[in-house]
Amino acid sequence: MSRHDVRPRASEDADEDETEVAVLPDLAALHVMATAEPEPAADVAPVVRLDDVHLTFQRAGRAVPALRGVSLELRPGEIFGLVGESGSGKSVLGMSVLGLLPAAVEVRGEVEVCGADMRTISPGQLRRLRTESLGAVFQDPMTSLNPTMRVGRQMVEACGSKQEAVRLLDAAGVPDPARRLRSYPHELSGGLRQRVMIAMAIAGKPKLVVADEPTTALDVTVQAQILSLLRNLCDELGTAFLLITHDLGVAAQISDRIGVLYGGRLAEVGPAADALERPMHPYTAGLLRSRLTLETDTFEPIRTLRGEPPIPESQPPGCPFGPRCDHRTDECEALLPPLVALTGTDDRATACLRIGAIGDLVAAEGPVAVGVASVRERPTFAGRPAALNLVGVHKHFGGGRHGLRRAAGAHVLRGIDLLVREGEAVALVGESGCGKSTLLRIVAGLAGADGGAVEVGQGARPQMVFQDAGASLTPWLTVGEQIGERLRSEGLSKLQRRARVNDALRLAGLSEDVAAAKAHQLSGGQRQRVGLARAIVVPPEILLCDEPTSALDVSLAATVLNLIGRLRREFDMAVLFVTHDLAAARLVGDRIAVMYLGRIVEDGAAADVVERPAHPYTRALLSAVPEAGVRSVPLKGEPASPHHPPGGCAFHPRCPEALPRCATDEPPFEPSPAFGRPVACWLVPGPDRPPDAAVD
């Protein structure tokens, strides 16, 4: 192992060196032979070669190791999916490949990109490398393009000429590219912006494009479009992609190989399909099990990883995964497991000290990808009183006058009918801008409806759990005070109140010490639990959840979903759960209601909707859920703006099955005998929608 200082330093960090020593156990004892990374086909040089890379930030005078010995080779023309949870160091790894690390970071080890040594490269050479051989796509296309510069100019900066810019935009699937050159980024939709970023990244046919969470900020149907675009570009151009993502499904869908990063180290590397089918590291297996798919067993809690991801500045000395691992031995607490190739397998490597046995141990815990659906009756809620009843709810925003100009109003909710019975969980699914959060806010009483009726049951007021749990907690109050606030009207003694707060915390899976903490001292998962504890300290008749897991890591999201399921049964609460993720909807909801542009287009029993979707939009959402190796046929276009909802069926410009009349007549939302649930589509016969409605 060669190790070099990128920036010479006077003294080495003492702790670092201790862990270094620990990396060198007697490898013979591990029944392995090969080197850390299996040889690629011998004649092709790798586009990126990382050898034992350590990256350390300084934060408030403390060393924060972001990468702790990563060795990796990217092969020309492959998509390498780098998967890891927040803080695992995946973005930092991407930045080091692009030479974009902040100056203050300390780098050790070898970083070689397209044959250039990033330790010694001059600014001029680095610029040339970026222009000729590298491209980058970042997470948020809104902020990653310069808002004050026309798309054309930004493209030309990357590719040199207008003709080339048009060609590249066309290759990236931007419709009418010549006209787009004159647009500013804010005039484009999120998906188009990301296509522009991609067009810029592939300018000059680079050898490598680093794509850091390129689809995380996008809607599911748009995500599917972008993923298939990346795969096609890779195949056509022979460009290698480093696809950084927190979502195993995204990586699995288009990657040739994947690497799983945990605590700044690679836990496992291997061909995507193989590694996801037969994980050779307990962390990979745990991630796969806590991931929601359309096959996850909805009757059992999701099998989550226990504990939380490590905090970079206080890593345990041994295996980073040790504290959460069920197969840990004493050795694991002392030694840092190196990434070692597995014998007898093709091209796979794992960083587990029990390398010889771990594959079998993991497999013995049960299958990873597909849950076995238990055959059980769903409870029925028919006949129970309504916890929430919405009839024909409308909501407009804006409109009216802005100065002297009339602003176009947005018709955000266009006649919503929704009934949630006591104890029932309804998942409301839709893409950004469809109005699902607005609907939730109206139910919570945070906004008023402009038309229709909103009836909320007689019990305790609805409580809301937000996407950003941190922002919904008051920073200067302790957790205990915030939960206790809801008890104020009950005339309890201080002691009684404290007992109730502790009960709520315990129910939310938190220890009582958390009551004394303030929001910033808690992790994201803990904050979301506090939000839940606050909501259930006086159990509401209906719990409103606004994407409560979309800001959380995969393993934590699963625990929060389990918790919501448990609390709901415990208190017999109704739940209205808003999400863009059909897999989560299917898991949480007894019923799924699908929303598109301010209307509900389909509403039925969760399992049934997933198995037999009636509406073309539901079908499109289902096929957009990323699955390993499955190339979905993405829906074209993006959700229209509620400022200008298309006439007729609002979905018709994107609908693969649209009929002529769909452009003019809005289909009524009414029960379909064939599906046993209400659907708004001309293709699905109903009382006012005779089977021949499709024809005229």
Partner: protein, 332 residues
Amino acid sequence: MTTFVLKRLASLVVLLVVLTAVMFLLQRVSKTDPIVAYLGRGATGPAAAQARHHLGFDRPLIVQYVRYVDDVAHGNLQMSLHTHHPVMDDLKTYLPPTLELLFTALGLSLIGALILGTVSAMRLPGAGLLRLVMVAGAAAPTFLLGQLGVVFFYRRLGWLPATGQTSRNGVPTGPTGFLVLDALFSGDWPLVMDAVKHLVMPAACLAIGPAVAIGRVLRSSLMSSMDADYTRTARSKGLRESAVVLRHALRNAASGPAQMTGLQVGFMFAGIVVVEQIFAWPGLGSYTVGAITNSDFPAIVGVSLVAGAVFVILNAAVDIFQAAADPRVALQ
């Protein structure tokens, strides 16, 4: 764009109407009797009554107001009570030197802000010292700064003159009214130098506070735009650092400082009164002081109207600049 300009013009008219109304009421409510001010103390009896009638001060208030607005609309701002010239003529005399001072100070403060902001945002060497000097300068009250300047650069070093717009008599008076420019047009180089020398110290006194205020805003907005995602994108394209800063970061950082500039113009009006006093600058500031000490309401109204107009126009310019810099800002 046209609608924007029209709207701003309309708001200017509204502002002027409100200003006149307020000034008119203040004048009538205040204890000062305009007749006394007009004719001098001891004006009583029939002469005073006649003057009162002649000037219309015996009519109902609303009639007086309508007449007054009508006059103002026709450019008749009445006679100044202390110079005994039509206020309009006085404004024509005193406004150009003040504008010359104001624009020069504005230019200086923008240059200062740009240097201060970029140097400290980029953490270039000398940033700390530069900042210290500027902040100290901005913290000192304008009159102190002016006095120190006079003592140092005039008495001690003799580099710069201390009073007036020029040391010459019979200088040209057209076409712009700005002495430096007029001298340039007439090709009188020594006069240009002379005028510039006179301009430097008062303009600098006026500029330093706004320079620091604008520079600070520029610094923080530049720092965040140097950290922004689009800057990272620009770097990842392989652009030179200078192109990254000039083409991408700076333009995106322009909005905050531009707004601050609009705000600072307001403060500069207050500063100008003091500065013109210290440097005996023959401008509106001095005129205002004379007007106030003599309860010269017509003059005060005139000055207020002009100041309001200048303020509105400069802020409209700021808005236009912002919209030009950032296409997301719609001119409204």
